[in-house]
């Protein structure tokens, strides 16, 4: 694009034609939307798989097509899809792409072409993953942790066919996509902030995405290495992870390998992955809570340092997932300690959110409802995490439904609540229209109450000692009938919550055409993405001059100002 001399910022890639504008676009906003759409589509698939699992647990034998093998395939694909292909992709690829340049006053990502490639590699990884549903023995049923030796041995669904290979290949491609996107996010944050946008004036969500990306860039290589080595073991019959195995009295070609080595590699990625999901959720909540409570975020500096502490400690807690893996008990003590320590910066964040709400002018908008729901849910999920972080408590609860209830509350429901809050909040920025408030509230209450009805009973079932990952709870004397009744109840709730998500989908689609016009800054937010001249922001985001930042992103209720907010790009002398 030819730039006039008055035009500030990096040179822009002018889109060529319809394909260049909407398909092979290098515009960060379009790429963000592409990420969001694909992530939501595969997320719906993941949700559908969970409903199939619930049908089996609540009403065993109702569907003849669900046998033990397909149940494990559903479990595996549900877990992997939700953690990696929905939440990681949507928070960083979707929100990250859309918000980073807009909130920093930049025209686009530092490397738009690499950014575009990132999306197409992500799409390729999703297609490879989905293709495993259509190969002869179906997708892998090894559980989302893909632990060898079981994941690559005959007898596990997808192990003797291409299922496990496609899963590992898909992960490798996803990691390449993430790396291309992640390098871009960090470079953009470090290099492309507009004048006045110091690091300590960045909105907290940008800090969160920035740190989550760092976590991803440092943690995903562990998964990549593990995946490559596991492919070697599966395809070339090497023995990185495979011990000596006897099958039907015959010794297999494998021998001498260490399954625990894979667990270390997996969880060195796996635990930071929890924070790769949680940090952007924290960021969304920080933005929403301040804006919809019309109050400064409490303790901005403390919030940033707490985030940095969480990101750092996230790398030394991984083996709390392995207390029962046979590792040295002294190591368990170390990892239990670090796990409890990470609760401190996390608690700082929760306290700061609560104090932000104290005496605030709270508007009960749909995004605010999601914020409040997140606070409660994250607190509960976090507290049960303290139980499981202790070795002595974890050992009896390990592999029970208590664990399922815990991690769904803390890293499924909580991030999804933040995600929905974010979608409701930024939808007007993307489309220029508001989502329907009434439908939004109906969707919220069903989702919020419904998820509690689903996951609360699981804690109780876990205390009864009911193991997770069992295809059927029949024929076990220690499992009382009440568990089956509860499972039926949970399944009915899950079906209702599942169906309620179509309210959101309907709201999304209909509001594009019939939603109330949003105007440029419908929530009265201070951050830059709402201050662009056009709404929704056009290609290049700003007019010829980039905005100049004069203040932090949370100037709500500034004394002397007529409005109850002062945008970041308004100078002191321009405040009316």
């Amino acid at each position: 694009m030819e730039q006039s001399s008055a035009y500030e910022g990096q040179p822009l890639h002018e889109p060529k034609g319809w394909w260049g504008r909407y398909v092979f676009s290098q515009d960060h906003k379009v790429i963000g939307l592409q990420y969001t759409c694909i992530a939501l589509a595969i997320g719906l698939t993941g949700m559908f798989l969970s409903l199939l699992m619930r049908m089996q647990l609540g009403f065993p034998g109702l569907f003849e097509s669900i046998d033990a093998g397909s149940y494990y395939q559903d479990v595996t694909m549900h877990g992997m899809i939700m953690v990696i292909y929905l939440l990681t992709a949507l928070f960083l690829g979707g929100f990250g792409n859309y918000l980073i340049p807009l909130m920093l006053g930049s025209r686009d990502m530092a490397f738009p072409f690499v950014n575009m490639l990132s999306f197409w590699f992500y799409l390729l990884s999703v297609l490879i993953l989905v293709s495993s549903f259509f190969v002869e023995s179906g997708p892998t049923g090894a559980g989302w942790t893909l632990y060898p030796p079981q994941s690559i041995l005959e007898g596990t669904p997808g192990a003797d066919g291409a299922g496990i290979i496609l899963m590992l290949a898909s992960l490798a491609v996803f990691i390449i996509a993430f790396t291309m996107g992640g390098l871009n996010y960090i470079t953009t944050v470090l290099q492309s902030r507009t004048r006045g946008m110091t690091l300590m004036r960045m909105p907290l969500i940008i800090w969160c995405i920035f740190l989550a990306t760092f976590l991803g860039l440092l943690a995903f290589p562990a998964l990549l290495v593990g995946a490559i080595m596991l492919i070697f073991d599966r395809v070339l019959e090497t023995s990185f992870f495979m011990p000596e195995i006897f099958k039907g009295g015959e010794v297999l070609d494998y021998g001498g390998g260490s399954p625990v080595l894979f667990q270390h590699l997996f969880w060195f990625f796996g635990h930071p992955e929890v924070y790769i999901i949680a940090l952007p959720a924290f960021g969304i909540i920080s933005e929403l809570i301040s804006c919809h409570a019309r109050k400064n975020i409490f303790g901005y500096n403390m919030m940033v340092w707490a985030l940095i502490a969480i990101a750092g400690i996230a790398f030394i807690v991984w083996a709390h997932h392995m207390y029962v893996a046979g590792m040295n008990p002294y190591l368990g003590f170390f990892f239990a300690t670090t796990t409890l320590i990470i609760a401190i910066p996390t608690a700082i964040k929760v306290y700061n959110w609560v104090i932000t709400l104290w005496n605030a002018n709270i508007r009960m908008t749909v995004p605010m409802l999601y914020c409040l729901a997140f606070l409660i849910t994250f607190l509960i999920g976090g507290l049960t995490g303290l139980f499981l972080g202790n070795v002595a408590v974890d050992v009896p609860l390990s592999d029970t439904y208590f664990v399922v209830g815990h991690f769904h509350m803390v890293m499924a429901v909580s991030p999804v609540l933040a995600l929905y809050g974010g979608l409701y909040h930024w939808y007007p920025s993307v489309t220029g229209r508001m989502l329907d408030d009434r439908l939004g509230k109906i969707h919220f209450w069903i989702t919020f109450i419904g998820t509690y009805l689903i996951y609360f009973p699981m804690h109780y079932i876990g205390f009864l000692g009911v193991p997770r990952r069992y295809y059927s709870n029949e024929q076990y004397d220690f499992i009382p009938q009440s568990v089956n009744d509860l499972n039926q109840f949970i399944t009915i709730c899950a079906l209702i919550v599942g169906a309620a998500q179509f309210i959101l989908l309907y709201n999304f689609i209909v509001s594009i055409f019939k939603g109330k016009k949003a105007g440029s800054n419908p929530w009265g937010a201070c951050t830059l993405e709402w201050q662009a001249l056009e709404s929704p922001p056009g290609h290049g985001n700003w007019d010829e001059q980039l905005p100049v930042v004069h203040r932090w992103p949370y100037d709500y209720g500034l004394p002397g100002a007529t409005a109850d907010f002062v945008p970041q790009n308004v100078a002191d002398e321009d405040i009316t």
């Binding site: 507009t194 004048r195 860039l217 440092l218 290589p221 590699l265 004069h550």
Partner: protein, 190 residues
């Protein structure tokens, strides 16, 4: 919170976009090799581990990679002095020796295979093939970047090649040499 900071160029430590991207990429690559060498050092303590002899060809390959790196120093000097012929000589050296390194490593694998050190017959063999293959793949990335830059230099493309670009390419090749030096010393001594 309301202090105006005008005309501040928000550049991290005065680095360019490309430099930040490159250093981050190198960090990610380093972490990847760190994990695989960690796994190597973990796995070698198991009873079935049998170290394999280092093919002498690998020493020559290492020399080739050193010369590829020297080529980039030469090219950088040429670019700095605006001396196009030295720039081309340096780039040619990097390309030739870089490709020689990659081909040499493949030849070394063939040698090992010929002498019965098959990929799956022992974890030490598997790690050797895997680690060297991963490194060669990253060298191939350097060759692709080298082709992009060289095409512009040799075809007199309108897109000029700056000293900065040559410098970045050089950093990657030196980095590949450093990674190889560390990997080679681990493979050699264990």
């Amino acid at each position: 919170m309301t202090e105006v900071i005008n005309n501040q160029k928000n550049k991290f430590m005065g680095l360019t976009h490309a430099e930040v991207f490159m250093y981050l990429l190198m960090t990610v690559i380093s972490i990847t090799f760190l994990f695989i060498t960690n796994a190597y050092l973990f796995r070698m303590n198991f009873a079935d581990w049998q170290s394999l002899p280092m093919p002498s060809l690998v020493w020559f390959n290492s020399g080739a990679l050193v010369l590829a790196s020297v080529g980039m120093v030469w090219a950088k000097q040429g670019a700095k002095a605006d001396d196009n012929s030295n720039l081309k000589i340096g780039l040619m050296a990097t390309g030739v020796f870089g490709v020689l390194f990659a081909l040499g490593q493949i030849k070394a694998w063939q040698e090992l295979n010929t002498f019965g050190y098959f990929l799956a017959s022992n974890p030490a063999n598997t790690f050797f093939y895997l680690i060297t293959a991963l490194h060669v793949m990253h060298v191939l990335g350097g060759i692709i970047a080298w082709m992009r830059v060289s095409f512009r230099v040799f075809s007199r493309s309108k897109k000029t090649v700056t000293e900065h670009t040559i410098g970045l390419l050089g950093i990657y090749w030196h980095y590949m040499l450093l990674v190889w030096a560390l990997l080679f010393s681990i493979l050699l001594t264990t």
